[in-house]
Subunit: 173 residues, 2 copies
């Protein structure tokens, strides 16, 4: 029987940092560097965050995290993949996230999509996420995807990865 | 610690049979009776089903299942309630279902909403649903909500209820 993986979207598949940096520049002309955002929560790093996540198109036009397409395509052959995304906080994001998945990951079936608020009731063998709030209560194997907001934190029981190549090495040895 | 319940929407909170019967009448002038639909799958009972679930407003204007509001309000005090709805098959339904919940169940927080395809990775203590495909793989306590499509089927290990009053008697004794 295949093992199951819950794969996060924002910060794992969708490069929301690049999207926030672009929107921040459009807002005020300042170019933020990833390095200066390390250790800051996203809400602190991006003062216009709430405005931007409630703006049409924010989620639909987010760029891909490098390597995510190629590795997820392979993982989808050997694991039961579920894309599990916190989306109900931002009503616009529901439709946009589904459109984004159809566009960029056409091999992900609608049966494999979960849009939720809390991830506490998600039960798979493995979870890949960039937020401790999702990984900490999870009972299975946990993989912490590095993003500036978690970069300085001790990963604890979670296995830290810095890119999709490292996920491939762990899950497709 | 509170026990958790995954509560289905269509056929449990939202009275989709009444909605399908109305749309069927508008489509062809025939008034379907619930009794004549017993034992038929929804797809067979409602030949225009696919057209209607893909039409704007179908999910947003569905009436409430009687008693659901009062009992869910009480359950929400004593249990961790999650509304878990299969929605990703019908892209329009995502936003409409969230709007519908906000309108009819304003005490349900966005953290308590899950819109998915398959419910196989949902893990709560209890599940209330009208479809065997959701209840059968579920490991916790299962409550089968009677709807015409399941009325003639043996409930098996699932506890059958015919209305929200019976749910109240089981979960709020």
């Amino acid at each position: 029987m295949k093992k199951s993986i819950a794969v996060d979207m924002d910060g794992v598949l969708a490069d929301v940092y690049q999207q926030f940096i672009l929107k921040h520049f459009n807002e005020c002309g300042e170019t933020l560097k990833l390095e200066q955002l390390e250790g800051l929560s996203e809400a602190v790093a991006f003062p216009y965050l709430l405005k931007h996540v409630h703006s049409p198109g924010f989620f639909k036009t987010a760029p891909l995290v490098p390597g995510s397409l190629e590795v997820l395509l392979e993982l989808n052959q050997k694991y039961d993949i579920y894309i599990v995304s916190a989306a109900t906080e931002f009503p616009l994001s529901l439709g946009e996230k589904q459109d984004w998945l159809h566009e960029h990951f056409p091999f992900i079936h609608w049966m494999q999509m979960v849009f939720c608020g809390s991830k506490k009731i998600i039960h798979t063998d493995i979870m890949i996420d960039d937020h401790f709030k999702n990984l900490d209560p999870f009972e299975g194997k946990t993989i912490l995807f590095t993003q500036p907001h978690n970069k300085n934190a001790a990963s604890g029981r979670h296995q830290r990865v810095n890119n999709w190549e490292e996920i491939k090495n762990i899950l497709l040895p």
